[in-house]
């Protein structure tokens, strides 16, 4: 009997330390999963073309800037980068500006056609862009929206909107309506209650869906390639020629596409961490 209990307690300790190890191993694995490709991307972007094609691969960059400088000299890259930032920011503003109120309405009010509305919002993602691009481009050319930052941002906002609506919908649903009611009883108007009570609670989540909208716009190629000519975004400018370019340039271009997105996510990480329950500092 005693031996049996001993065994059990030892096993329990073992299980505890094993699960700790498993946890640590899992964290390490996930970090490697994310960081290793980025690390290799950076090494190769910062190595000379000969080193990129040679074998064995280097583990440390030689800080040869030939490939990277090629990109910065490549006509129009900086302008495309700036266009990308503008389109993505405008997309973010449009998607949140339209999506958050829709999400709030869906979570707080009952109205006729609510289900149909939710369904329709998702339906906008059911049509592939190559199919939509042609009629859109014709319409844009006729209305003068063609080849403008605003026009492209409108298309990207349409793509990002379903996610913005659904994320903010679940966000607002998670905030008890009683909080709002309490604010009303204490003299707040409906709008004041929203600004003073609900919005601070929802902000991290809204930031997350804004990041999402930004990334969707940043990564979109097809509409950008068709709808912009002079004002190309970075992805339209680079991505479609990148996969047919020599290896060293692929790495340098890849790094150029990844870096701004990484910087952006770093900038808003505070809000993301807050949403995941890590202290908001």
């Amino acid at each position: 009997m005693t031996t049996a209990t001993d065994t059990v307690s030892v096993t329990r300790d073992e299980v505890r330390s094993a699960s700790k190890w498993l946890f640590v191993a899992g964290v390490v694995m996930l970090c490697i999963w994310v960081l290793l490709p980025i690390y290799f991307l950076m090494i190769n972007a910062l190595s000379s073309p000969e080193e990129v094609t040679s074998f064995p691969k280097r583990m440390f960059p030689s800080f040869d800037l030939a490939s990277v400088t090629f990109f910065f000299k490549f006509q129009g890259v900086l302008r495309a980068l700036w266009n990308s930032v503008q389109v993505a920011s405008l997309t973010m503003i449009l998607a949140i500006g339209l999506g958050a109120p829709a999400g709030y309405a869906l979570s707080r009010f009952d109205f006729r056609g609510k289900e149909a509305f939710r369904f329709l919002v998702i339906m906008t993602r059911a049509f592939p862009l190559p199919l939509l691009a042609l009629p859109l481009a014709i319409m844009f050319i006729r209305t003068g929206l063609d080849d403008t930052i605003l026009g492209l941002a409108l298309v990207h906002a349409t793509l990002a909107l379903p996610f913005a609506v659904l994320i903010t919908f679940s966000l607002f649903s998670g905030i008890p309506v009683e909080l709002e009611e309490a604010a009303w009883t204490l003299g707040c108007t409906r709008i004041q209650a929203f600004y003073k009570v609900i919005l601070p609670l929802a902000l991290p989540g809204i930031a997350a869906s804004a990041v999402f909208a930004f990334v969707i716009s940043w990564n979109e190629v097809f509409a950008a390639a068709v709808l912009t000519i002079q004002n190309r975004t970075l992805t339209a400018f680079l991505l479609q020629s990148l996969d047919v370019s020599p290896l060293p340039l692929k790495f340098a271009g890849g790094a150029m596409l990844v870096l701004p997105a990484l910087i952006f996510i770093f900038a808003v990480r505070k809000y993301l961490f807050a949403m995941w329950g890590i202290a908001n500092r």
Partner: protein, 422 residues
């Protein structure tokens, strides 16, 4: 508060309008599917088009966006594209959207090429711009394994397979690379090289016994082909990294290897089969859409592309050869010299057999290619029975050719009505 907001909104709109109107004034837009790799795009802008008065906005894009944009401008009835650049196959099906270029002096271009540019209509829909073909490339280390008595520029497929076999056995792994990746040009190998070399035909004898023998030979070759080939698209990469020692590909897709290490590589003519040494010339053209904003400027740009010095600059930039007779200067890149010699060896061979790009298929060209790709995937990758696959794919091929009502093109004998698949 609201005044402020209105003002900033107004400022934003004004900014958008400024950006927009800044774009309208720009140089003529050259909308192209060619010179897509960024180094080539850069060279097109800096070396080829910089000499055109007023400058050119050269934009290269993938076929999908290229076509969609063109169709959108045609649909809207107004456009920004001044000149289109693309392969012969990209223009077929677009006849109605292309202006007649008959009044541009194109007498310097070989008449057989010009003929392709009519796309089967009475008008000159596009003007040939540059041409290329596919050749073989080998690392010099591979040459010591050449079978006795075999001559590099006069190989047969039998000798070629023996060579690859000897090399694979001596080095412990397959050393032949084939661009069977998603962006690889594998279908051109079957259409223009393997099948015509055995059958003397691209379409009519698709399911003949000779074609089956060709596929049998390729299956044999596949044993000595790098198993990573279904990921390869531009063989210059694997040649430079020495993942493979021997490869078949488009001249423009081998050029980097020749230019980076000209002393380590040789180029040679494709092998011959029982029916001849088939090879496929590739033609790219320039066209003007009917919606071009300034027709005269567009035509001036097309004429500029045909000037001898532009043609030489284009060769340097893209590794596509001139379509007009020009005297090449001595300082051309190594890739031009090496591939030029291999092309000369292929075209001058006594058993040379040009297999033309599909003619008259219109927008069914993609489906036509798919038949050859499917056949390859079923026979080689999935290991299915050759006659059964050829029979089924032959039906698909016949249906496409009939739907397009395309008569036979070289090397098939001319036909009345759609090209038959026996």
């Amino acid at each position: 508060m609201s005044g402020n907001r209105n003002r900033s909104l107004g400022a934003a709109l004004a900014a958008v309008t400024t950006i927009y109107s800044a774009g309208v004034l720009a140089e003529p837009l050259f909308w192209s599917t060619q010179a897509n790799p960024i180094e080539e795009t850069q060279a097109m802008r800096e070396q080829v088009l910089s000499g055109f008065e007023g400058g050119v906005d050269y934009q290269s894009s993938e076929l999908g966006p290229w076509l969609t944009r063109l169709q959108a401008e045609a649909g809207a009835g107004s456009g920004t594209i001044a000149v289109l650049g693309g392969l012969h196959g990209h223009f077929s099906g677009l006849e109605d959207n292309l202006a007649d270029l008959g009044d541009i002096d194109s007498s310097a271009v070989k008449s057989a090429l010009l003929e392709l540019g009519t796309l089967g209509t009475a008008e000159q829909k596009y003007i040939p711009w540059m041409q290329a073909t596919y050749i073989m490339a080998a690392n010099k280390k591979a040459l010591e394994f050449l079978p006795d008595g075999a001559e590099l520029n006069a190989l047969t497929y039998d000798q070629f397979v023996d060579w690859m076999k000897a090399m694979a056995e001596a080095t412990g792994g397959p050393k032949f690379g084939f661009p069977a990746g998603p962006k690889g040009l594998k279908h051109r190998f079957f259409q223009g090289y393997l099948i015509p070399s055995y059958t003397g035909s691209m379409v009519t004898k698709f399911r003949s016994e000779e074609a089956a023998a060709a596929w049998e030979k390729f299956r044999e070759l596949w044993q000595f082909t790098s198993p990573a080939s279904p990921n390869y698209s531009f063989m210059q990469e694997q040649l430079v990294s020495e993942e493979v020692w021997v490869a078949w590909d488009h001249t423009a897709r081998l050029a980097d290897a020749f230019n980076e290490r000209p002393d380590d590589f040789v180029a040679f003519a494709p092998p011959a089969g029982p029916a001849g040494r088939a090879f496929m010339p590739v033609v790219a053209g320039v066209a003007v859409p009917t919606t071009a904003p300034d027709m005269d400027a567009s035509k001036a740009l097309v004429a500029y592309m045909l000037k001898p010095e532009t043609q030489i600059a284009t060769l340097r930039a893209t590794n596509f050869f001139p379509v007009v007779d020009v005297a090449l200067p001595d300082d051309m890149p190594a890739s031009v010299r090496l591939s030029g010699e291999a092309i000369a060896a292929a075209t001058a061979a006594s058993d040379a057999m040009p297999a033309l790009l599909p003619v008259g298929l219109g927008d069914l060209g993609g489906q036509f290619n798919q038949v050859y790709i499917d056949t390859f995937e079923r026979i080689i990758l999935a290991g299915q029975d050759i006659p059964a696959v050829l029979d089924q794919q032959g039906d698909a091929l016949a249906a496409i050719v009939e739907q397009a009502a395309a008569p036979c093109w070289a090397p098939d004998e001319p036909s009345d009505g759609p090209c038959p698949v026996d």
